[in-house]
């Protein structure tokens, strides 16, 4: 489905990454591992076509991604290492906006169940600025289910999460792969995930 051929990125004469070849198909998990500053986020942004590779090409469903960009975007959910929920709004309001902007078909009962699993249900009518870093991250990860797309691209998804929440995320990853979805995630932590392939940067 998604293929990169010898992609390299140089910025201000510095090599961020060089000659990266990746391929990810249905039901696979790709882990991008590496220390801080090793180029994981830049590689993710390059795959998302936010950064332009200095050399090499990216292909989506066999076509150059630039010619097929909006089809790719229709199939991808990106969870950045930042918080995209609006701090001025409550959890419920954020979810309502996401559901409608992302044209999600998920119903309120499903959301209620997930909020309970993530232990966010007691805060659902509270503004997100009172949430801890871990709770904010969990809310962010809820977007994966709301958007309900095939490819999940996550930048440092386990940061600030406790072991219980990490287990929930691991289970969610496995369930997504069973539904023929694909996942690319970056991490500098030693979280044990059954990845199909790891790339050390």
């Amino acid at each position: 489905m998604l293929l990169t051929k010898n992609i390299s990125l140089f910025r201000a004469d510095k090599i961020i990454f060089e000659n990266i070849n990746l391929s990810i198909g249905s039901g696979k998990i790709l882990g991008l591992k590496g220390k801080n500053g090793s180029g994981k986020t830049s590689l993710i942004k390059t795959i998302l076509c936010i950064l332009e590779p200095t050399s090499g090409s990216i292909f989506w469903k066999g076509k150059n991604i630039e010619k097929n960009l909006y089809d790719f975007y229709n199939n991808v959910t990106y969870i950045a290492d930042k918080t995209s929920s609006l701090k001025q709004l409550t959890i419920n309001e954020n979810i309502k906006i996401w559901k409608n902007i992302f044209l999600s078909k998920i119903n309120n009962d499903q959301i209620e169940k997930i909020l309970q699993t993530l232990k966010l249900d007691s805060y659902k009518n509270k503004k997100t600025n009172i949430l801890s870093l871990g709770e904010t991250k969990k809310l962010e990860l809820l977007r994966l289910i709301i958007e309900n797309k095939k490819i999940w691209i996550l930048d440092e998804p386990f940061t600030n999460l406790d072991s219980e929440a990490i287990d929930v995320i691991k289970q969610t990853f496995e369930d997504h792969c069973k539904k023929e979805g694909s996942i690319i995630f970056s991490s500098h932590q030693n979280v044990q995930i059954n990845t199909t392939e790891d790339l050390l940067l």
Partner: protein, 224 residues
């Protein structure tokens, strides 16, 4: 088509929620506007004739300064939180985001000023027959300022050191807007032709805005 409209509707709903929760910002802008009017009144003194002659120019200058106060937040929050990327990945091109954000800036920042103009006119002793033309000129002119604000605040994202640069650019580019807007109010013969010129400027800036802003947003995200 319905899906597309639904997405736009919820984009504006999102902007509404953000602006209402940050209502103190709108209130601060309006307060700045009225306090500045009082400062002018006190500095000129109780001379009705001078005030009514200079009033329109004072109002326009203060409206320009007040609306530049809101420019720092135009794209900054969505840029810092990564929402620009998320919206982009969900079918909102940068150009389209620019159009929607400009319209929402006009609605949530400029419309409160338009509503407060009649009160300001009473304070500065502007004749009531001029209020109507002032409202028309500001309705068009403020939309031009929103477009210019969109361009300059997206340029601000490229410049991490100097946040005032965008406001300076808006001020320079808004000189023609002020010339024609004040001209509309003070003229008796060329009213329609000056309105047409101002509307022409609006159409040109509105056409340039998405491309210029879109390009700046794209470069800013690449440099981030």
């Amino acid at each position: 088509m319905f899906i597309f409209l639904k997405k736009i509707f919820y984009f504006f709903y999102r902007e509404f929620k953000v602006n209402i929760s940050g209502f103190h910002d709108i209130l601060t802008n309006i307060t700045f506007f009225f306090i500045s009017i009082f400062i002018f009144i006190f500095s000129i003194g109780p001379q009705d004739k001078i005030l009514s002659v200079m009033g329109v120019s004072i109002l326009w200058t203060l409206l320009l300064l007040s609306s530049t106060l809101s420019l720092t937040k135009f794209y900054r929050d969505d840029f810092d939180t990564g929402n620009l990327i998320i919206l982009h990945l969900n079918g909102f091109s940068f150009e389209f985001i620019a159009i929607l954000k400009t319209i929402s800036h006009f609605i949530y920042v400029q419309v409160p000023f338009i509503i407060s103009i009649p009160i300001a006119c009473v304070l500065i002793n502007i004749p009531m027959e001029k209020v109507y033309s002032l409202l028309i000129s500001f309705a068009i002119g403020s939309f031009i300022l929103s477009c210019l604000g969109s361009i300059s605040s997206s340029m601000n994202l490229l410049n991490k050191r100097n946040y005032l640069l965008g406001s300076v650019i808006v001020m320079i580019l808004s000189i023609p807007v002020i010339i024609f807007s004040v001209g509309i109010i003070n003229t008796e013969e060329n009213f329609i032709s000056l309105i047409n010129v101002l509307f022409g400027i609006l159409l040109i800036i509105f056409a340039i805005n998405p491309w210029a802003t879109g390009a700046c947003l794209k470069i800013a995200l690449q440099n981030n």
